[in-house]
């Protein structure tokens, strides 16, 4: 399908916080209560609309386990957006956020948009991390914040879309170099054709050549 932009996302965070479930809820609109441990990374994709433009999201859901950390680090550099997820019913997953953030900042490109997500907001009775704490952490580190529930689908859509909006705004502001695909952003084939004078990029020409 034709798209104006393509954004690459990664989902990171401790094991068991619901990263794969968030992705499944976003791409398939369903919830799987029992989910196998993710091995390495898994891929998912969906089309969204922002500002009347079709945007394709390609999402790499990473394994949270420590043993996969070195593998998942390979995905930071090429991503335009990251969803950093913790579990509001497990304080330790919140405490590890600093490590995750350091890791992400170290290996990603500096413009990567990071959305902090407190997942499992449906389990209010077992909550260990207050919403205010999440908000404070996000404020402190310049992240966008949201509490979601992959189970009830609450805010899941918004989390992915708001991240895309932020990236989109950064593109409008000219912060991102959209001609460098290593940033996790790609201009769509038809878009590249219309913007050929502006872009004139190799990527755009190649995409144009490939689609016919």
């Amino acid at each position: 399908m034709a798209y104006a932009y393509l954004f690459k996302y990664i989902i990171i965070g401790d094991t068991g916080v619901g990263k794969s479930c968030l992705l499944l809820q976003f791409t398939d609109k369903r919830f799987q209560p029992v989910h196998d441990l993710t091995i390495g990374v898994e891929f998912g994709a969906r089309m969204i609309t922002i500002d009347g433009k079709q945007i394709k999201l390609q999402i790499w859901d990473t394994a949270g386990q420590e043993s996969f950390r070195s593998i998942t680090r390979s995905y930071y550099r090429g991503a335009a957006g990251a969803l950093l997820v913790y579990d509001i019913t497990r304080r330790d997953t919140f405490n590890h956020l600093t490590t995750w953030l350091e890791d992400a900042r170290q290996h990603s490109n500096s413009n990567m948009v990071i959305m902090l997500i407190g997942n499992k907001s449906d389990l209010e009775s077992r909550r260990e991390v207050k919403k205010e704490e999440g908000e404070a952490f996000a404020r402190e580190h310049g992240l966008i914040f949201m509490e979601t529930s992959a189970k009830t689908a609450s805010n899941v859509e918004e989390a992915f879309i708001n991240t895309a909006k932020e990236i989109y705004e950064k593109i409008q502001e000219g912060v991102f170099d959209i001609n460098n695909e290593a940033n996790g952003i790609k201009i769509g084939p038809q878009h590249a054709a219309t913007n050929s004078t502006m872009g004139g990029s190799q990527g755009g020409q190649q995409a144009g050549g490939g689609c016919c």
């Binding site: 990374v41 891929f43 390609q58 550099r77 290996h107 490939g210 689609c211």
Partner: protein, 956 residues
């Protein structure tokens, strides 16, 4: 280094001592020389020796070379030599010069050598990391040998090196950058490196894909001319295969990235006949394999289905079908295309329908299916092609009831078309041809037309075959069994077993789960004796499978027997087995099927792929059927008749129980549904009543409200009327009795009367006022301004009055409305409504009157007030006039007094005049001139008068 010594010892002659010594010297120079040039020369020398003295150079210099890589980063030349040297000692491929004269053993040792040196090199994982950083060096002399070295390391110790690259930060990304290198050699060797790197490592495959590998590889393929391109295209395709094979995540990414659409132009080869080079054949073969990887039957059904959909939507399937029907396509490409089309349509209704509609460009046009089947039953066609066609046919019928029906229909007498060749005819032809391979393929193909389709199993029973002239037609089923039992007189090519196996598989598929077909089969008296004979006979090894299949067929006859044939009931057949074969023997023979070596291979995947035509024995779908039936048949046969009877009794009682239970269940279900319905009704009713109650209370409260409002209005009204002096009794206007009506009328009249009274009073008062005004105005001119003020006030009051009256009417209107509003909620009898209307009329009249009354009253009041004020004015005016009168009186008194004085003075004057006259007379008398004096006197007299008046005024 024991192993090295071992290797050295095995060499008969041993290395030349000078060589080892030289290498040692060179190593020393590399290690100790402070001059770069010196070190560089030494490394160059080592490089030149590294092929000939691989073992020695490897053993002695590796550490030194690694150190050079670490320390001499600035000199690309020495780095290049060091990398080349390492490559030479690690790589096994460079032994090409070694001729066949060298023993094979030697070659193996060389291989070991490469592995051992690799082991040594990667013992320090940092060495790999170091190598990865060196690959960032743009200089050709560093990058190229670096790429080759890493490729060699991967080739010899794949998993370990992969593991190290995987955990090195940015490791894979750096290697991906090689594909963007402008120097083709590096890009192409980069491709080879990535091929090795991605071999069997899903994690690396995913990272490579994440780093836009698909995009870049597809671009390179396009740049290089797609299938017409050279070996680079082949390398790209191999890498793509590595990335996609058995990697569902990457397959999903590939599909989501719309890369399937980019594959379509690959297959636009058409009929141009521009020649099919070996490279083009290889490229196209790999391209077809890539398509197959995406729609492989072993993938998850959802993933395959979405790829199949995409392939149809972008026209890729159509393009493949064009190749299928094109001329001049090499056989192996055609075969692989058929296999690819098979998997693109397998289980996908839309794609299957499209495939059924494809026509070959022949004259007249024939369906592609027919053309393909012609190849399948044509023994001159290559074996793999025939297998591919069978696979295609199977895939076309897989989960395709419509397709199955269409195929079977071409055999039915009603729909048969004599003029053209149909699929059914071709299959029958194949079934009874002299070629065993055709027999087998046709049998399996026909079996697939019946798979899981009871309707077609029954339909196919209707098929009759014309045999030689003069003989009655024979059914297809019978013909199959005839060939099996009697054997035909044909001199067959191929193996008889293959034919038998094919037919038996067809029969098993046909009659399983179809009691009518079982009955048809048993109806022929020859069939059962033939089967029992086959099973009980002690046949050779190659006939064992046939025995097993016969046992299976007999088993199916028992299992799916509806006992409608007296001679061949379940029971009788079992007795037959017991007598003629023996139960144990039967089960043993049955097990021959699954024990066959080719059985498990066929069970693995749907595609019929056999190394030789002789191996073509089992069909994939048939293995599923065997799995399903074997246990059930074994159980059914092993049970003794008594057991069976008992069991059947038990079964019967169970069935009875079951039926009772089911009856009860149904009853319960019915009751349950009834209860549910009733519950629903109850809830509906309760909710309804609740609703009604609430409306009632609402209405009641409304009514109450209306009543209250009405009472308030009434009270107001009452007050008003009382104020006006109305004595009308507080009649219940709300009451709807006729006598109240009359009361109201009376009241109205009274009000009217009083109104008149008031009006008369008013006129009286008015006239009074005017008279008073008339009186007051002339007497008191200075009080008029006050009066106008008063008038203004009066007018203001009048305005107020009017607004109030308006308010009152408004309120009354409101009340009227409310009364009207409450009407529909209260159930009012029809006659009462009439009264109500009357009342309303009267009330409106009453209210009009009252307002008039009110108005008049107000006027009266204001007029009274103005009258009072006028009177007051009048009083004040009169008082002032009284004062003025008093003053006037006083003045008049004074005037009188002064008049009196004047009179006195006049009298005095007259006296004096008299005296003057007297004196004048006397003077006259005395003779004195008096005329002047007279005049003087008169003048004096006048002056005197003036004086007098002046005096008067002064007094005042």
């Amino acid at each position: 280094m024991d192993f090295l010594r071992g290797v050295m010892g095995s060499k008969p002659a041993g290395p030349q001592p000078t060589g080892a010594e030289t290498i040692q010297k060179l190593c020393d120079r590399v290690a100790s020389s402070t001059l770069l040039e010196d070190r560089r020369d030494a490394v160059r020398a080592l490089k030149s020796l590294s092929k000939k003295y691989r073992l020695e150079v490897g053993t002695m210099s590796m550490d030194h070379l690694v150190r050079i890589l670490q320390t001499d980063r600035s000199d690309t030349e020495i780095l290049g030599y060091a990398l080349d040297t390492l490559y030479n000692i690690v790589c096994n491929d460079e032994e090409e010069e070694q001729d066949d004269s060298e023993e094979e053993n030697q070659q193996k040792q060389e291989d070991d050598l490469g592995a051992q040196f690799t082991d040594k090199f990667i013992q320090e994982p940092e060495n790999i990391t170091l190598l990865l950083t060196l690959l960032e060096e743009f200089d050709f002399h560093v990058r190229w040998p670096g790429v080759k070295l890493l490729t060699a390391l991967l080739k010899s110790q794949c998993a370990q090196v992969q593991g190290i690259v995987l955990v090195s930060p940015m490791g894979v990304s750096r290697l991906m950058d090689l594909l963007a290198d402008s120097r083709e050699v590096i890009r192409n060797d980069g491709l080879l490196l990535l091929q090795q790197l991605t071999k069997g490592n899903a994690a690396i495959q995913k990272i490579v894909a994440f780093e836009n590998a698909f995009e870049r590889l597809l671009d390179i393929i396009t740049e290089e001319g797609s299938s017409d391109g050279g070996i680079v295209v082949e390398d790209c395709l191999l890498l793509l295969l590595n990335l996609l094979k058995n990697n569902s995540s990457n397959q999903n990414f590939f599909k989501e990235g719309s890369y399937i659409q980019k594959m379509k132009p690959w297959f636009e080869v058409g009929d141009d006949n521009s020649g099919w080079s070996a490279q083009k054949v290889t490229n196209l073969h790999l391209m077809l394999q890539l398509v197959r990887v995406l729609v492989s039957p072993v993938n998850s059904p959802g993933a395959t289905a979405s790829c199949q959909k995409a392939m149809f939507q972008c026209g890729l399937l159509q393009q493949l079908c064009t190749i299928l029907m094109a001329t001049g396509v090499p056989a192996d490409i055609l075969t692989e295309t058929i296999n690819t089309v098979s998997e693109v349509i397998r289980g996908s209704e839309v794609n299957q329908d499209y495939f059924a509609s494809v026509n070959a460009p022949s004259n007249p046009p024939r369906p592609a299916i027919v053309v393909l089947l012609m190849s399948m039953v044509n023994e001159r066609q290559p074996f793999v092609l025939r297998c591919a066609v069978l696979y295609c046919f199977q895939c076309f019928l897989y989960k395709n009831q419509k397709g199955q029906g269409e195929i079977v229909a071409t055999l039915l007498p009603s729909t048969i078309d004599a003029n053209s060749i149909s699929a059914g005819q071709l299959l029958c032809g194949g079934l009874f041809s002299a070629d065993s391979l055709s027999n087998w393929c046709a049998a399996v193909a026909l079996a697939h037309a019946l798979q899981d389709n009871l309707t077609q199993k029954e339909q196919l029973l209707r098929v009759q075959l014309a045999t030689s002239l003069g003989k009655p037609p024979v059914s297809l089923l019978q013909q199959c069994t005839n060939i099996l039992s009697q054997g035909d007189k044909l001199n067959r090519r191929g193996s008889r077993v293959q034919t038998k196996v094919g037919l038996l598989m067809l029969l098993c598929t046909w009659i399983s789960n179809c009691p009518i077909a079982v009955m048809h089969f048993l109806h022929n008296q020859d069939n059962v004796p033939f089967l029992t004979g086959q099973i009980s006979e002690n046949l050779g090894e190659d006939e064992r499978l046939v025995q097993g299949l016969c046992a299976l067929l007999l088993g199916i006859c028992i299992y799916y027997n509806d006992n409608s044939l007296e001679n061949y009931t379940k029971e009788k057949l079992k007795q037959l087995i017991e007598k003629r074969i023996g139960k144990e023997n039967f089960v043993e023979k049955l097990a021959f099927i699954t024990k066959h070596e080719l059985y498990s291979r066929a069970a693995q995947k749907p595609q019929p792929a056999f190394s030789t035509p002789e191996h073509m024995l089992f069909d994939h779908e048939f293995t599923k059927l065997v799995k399903e039936l074997e246990g059930m048949i074994t159980k059914a046969v092993l049970r003794s008749s008594e057991e069976e009877k008992k069991e059947e009794e038990v079964k019967k009682t169970l069935e009875q129980h079951d039926s009772i239970v089911t009856q009860y269940k149904e009853l319960i279900r019915e009751q349950d549904s009834q209860i549910n319905e009733l519950k629903k009704q109850v809830t509906a009713l309760t909710s309804q009543t609740e609703n009604l109650e609430s409306t009632i209370t609402q209405q009641l409260s409304q009514i109450q409200q209306h009543k209250d409002q009405y009472n308030i209005l009434k009270l107001k009204l009452g007050k008003d009327t009382q104020q006006a002096g109305n004595q009308a009794e507080a009649a219940h206007v709300n009451g709807l009795q006729p006598e109240e009506l009359s009361q109201l009328r009376e009241r109205l009249e009274e009000v009217q009367r009083q109104n008149q009274l008031l009006q008369t009073q008013l006129t009286e008062k008015d006239s009074l006022i005017t008279s008073l005004k008339a009186e007051g105005v002339p007497s008191v001119e200075d009080s008029t301004s006050e009066v106008t003020e008063l008038r203004k006030e009066v007018e203001g009051l009048k305005a107020q009055l009017q607004s109030q009256t308006a308010e009152i009417t408004q309120l009354q209107n409101e009340r009227q409305e409310l009364l009207r509003g409450s009407e529909p909620t209260v159930a009012v009898p029809a006659e009462e409504s009439v009264y109500k209307e009357k009342i309303a009329e009267l009330e409106s009249r009453l209210s009009a009157q009252t307002t008039e009354n009110q108005k008049l009253k107000g006027e009266v009041k204001t007029l009274l007030e103005s009258k009072e004020s006028m009177e007051k004015d009048l009083a004040s005016a009169t008082s002032t006039s009284a004062i003025l009168q008093a003053e006037k009186n006083k003045l008049q008194q004074e005037v009188q007094e002064s008049k009196k004085e004047q009179d006195d003075l006049l009298m005095l004057l007259a006296d004096q005049d008299q005296k003057i006259l007297n004196l004048k007379q006397r003077l006259k008398d005395l003779g004195e001139p008096i005329e002047d004096e007279d005049e003087l006197d008169s003048r004096d007299q006048f002056e005197d008068d003036d004086e007098e008046e002046e005096e008067e005024e002064c007094d005042e």
